[in-house]
């Protein structure tokens, strides 16, 4: 077995948390049950990984199998990576029957024709997701297995989720291979990024709880604002205001859990508006400014702002449009025309 492969397997096993190693090796299926029985999972990880490499040596593992193990690890720990969403466009309305073998063949052929030194691995999952792992090399160097790119493609949708490696220069090549293989004619990067892959899928596949406009003159249940406060000696003076805020929040965010995003970034290219007497920034140049909201769970925290009294309801549409517009990176420019309002660029 190649030394680099052995080292790669050893490092991959070291990454896995100790209580997950057995499960992942079983999922991998490269080592037999008998071999797995011989492993002692109660020693330090260093030793476990050495033993695994030993067993792989017996089975003559090559880079393909090692890459398969890496995909399994990254599929389970997908939230460690930052994912960007891409949307593909078809030129016409042709309904192509999707053939997975055809897709893989075309993808590999396209990539390999441009770059000989690549390692390409595929894995299909039950939720119709195709995971692709690509390790990149150069015409003179073997692929760097430690900085691969991952692509998740749901064949029935035009969306692709890419977690690129640091080497951004390979991205155009990757995108080209994807559209060729999937019979689309164009691909564009959406301004939507997050660590939580499932939440990104929820947003673009519209699986989160949206609120549909239904006509109700009064709220359906007279929800008590603070049901645990049964003490009748406490009187809430602003009960109707609290109910209004809850109702508005419900209308905007829906009642289910929100998709998990960590950032919202707004790049402002608007004019600085000040009292003309103050003589600030007299040059008619846009005032460049970047506003970034970050949170472990951005949308849930936005949802709780108004009920917590920290912001007025309704919230700015710039914040609440994030799931509907499927983007969390915005560019705000001055609206050219009669009204100097800002508008969001496409």
């Amino acid at each position: 077995m190649d030394e680099t492969v052995a080292e790669y397997i050893r490092r991959t096993v070291l990454k896995i948390p100790r209580d997950e190693i057995k499960m992942m090796l079983q999922k991998w299926g490269f080592l037999s049950e008998a071999q797995l029985q011989t492993l002692n999972f109660h020693q330090i990880k260093d030793n476990i990984s050495q033993e695994v490499v030993q067993l792989c040596e017996e089975n003559s593992a090559d880079i393909k199998q090692a890459a398969a193990l890496d995909i399994i690890y990254n599929n389970i720990h997908q939230n460690k990576r930052m994912w960007t969403v891409y949307q593909m466009k078809k030129s016409g309305e042709e309904l192509d029957y999707f053939d997975i073998t055809d897709f893989k063949k075309k993808f590999k052929r396209r990539l390999r024709s441009a770059l000989k030194n690549v390692t390409i691995t595929f894995k299909e999952y039950e939720d119709n997701a195709i995971w692709i792992r690509v390790a990149w090399g150069t015409p003179y160097k073997k692929p760097n297995q430690y900085k691969p790119s991952y692509v998740v493609y749901h064949s029935q949708t035009p969306y692709v989720f890419i977690s690129a490696s640091v080497l951004k220069s390979n991205l155009p090549l990757l995108c080209q291979a994807l559209i060729v293989a999937s019979n689309y004619h164009d691909i564009r990067e959406m301004e939507l990024r997050s660590h939580s892959l499932n939440s990104l899928k929820d947003i673009v596949f519209k699986r989160y709880s949206q609120n549909f406009q239904t006509y109700t003159s009064k709220p359906l249940q007279g929800e008590n604002v603070e049901p645990e406060n049964a003490d009748i000696r406490i009187v809430q003076e602003n009960r109707s205001e609290k109910e209004r805020i809850l109702r508005l929040n419900q209308e905007v965010f829906g009642s289910g859990p929100q998709p998990k995003l960590e950032f919202a970034q707004y790049r402002l290219e608007t004019m600085f508006k000040s009292d003309p007497k103050m003589d600030v920034l007299n040059k008619k140049e846009p005032f460049r400014c970047l506003v970034k909201f970050s949170s472990p769970h951005l949308l849930e925290s936005l949802k709780s702002l108004a009920p917590a009294g920290m912001a007025d309801a309704p919230l700015s549409p710039l914040l609440t449009c994030i799931p509907h517009k499927a983007r969390n990176y915005f560019k705000i420019r001055e609206k050219k025309g009669l009204c100097p309002e800002s508008f969001v660029s496409p």
Binding site: I234, V235, Q236, E237, N238, S240, E241, G309, M310
Partner: protein, 131 residues
């Protein structure tokens, strides 16, 4: 009665008893909180400021997230001649102790303690070198 700001909603005017003590709660972590109190103060009748108003500053246990100037709060107390109490509502012990203090003050303001009236608070506010 708990309210988020003043003036109180007028639709409940007929349900309200006499008001003996107004406590303005300022959260040290929020500039908005201080601003809200300052604007609400304008809606309080002047007669309340003879001992029937007090300021409660909460969140003092977390000085590292302090957003307002302590000077501003103390000056507020001086301007309106009302005591400023400090507490940390998130800790149960301090919360209970503060509640007991407020109830004691409320009792005096409502006239339940013979011989002591709300005006006593005002005289306690005067600095020792004022005379």
């Amino acid at each position: 009665h708990l309210a988020t700001s003043l003036p109180l909603p007028s639709e409940r005017d007929h349900l309200r008893p006499r008001i003996d003590l107004v406590v303005f709660i300022i959260d040290i972590k929020s500039k908005y909180s201080l601003k809200n109190v300052e604007t609400s103060l304008a809606h309080v009748d002047a007669s309340f400021f003879l001992g029937k108003v007090c300021f409660l500053v909460t969140g003092v246990g977390r000085v590292n997230v302090c957003s307002i100037e302590m000077n501003a709060v103390c000056k507020l107390g001086e301007t309106y001649c009302s005591p400023v109490l400090f507490c940390e509502l998130e800790l149960e012990g301090i919360r209970n102790a503060t509640a007991q203090r407020l109830v004691r003050m409320l009792g005096i303001c409502a006239g339940h303690t013979p011989g002591v009236s709300a005006l006593s608070f005002v005289s306690l506010m005067r600095k020792s070198d004022d005379d």
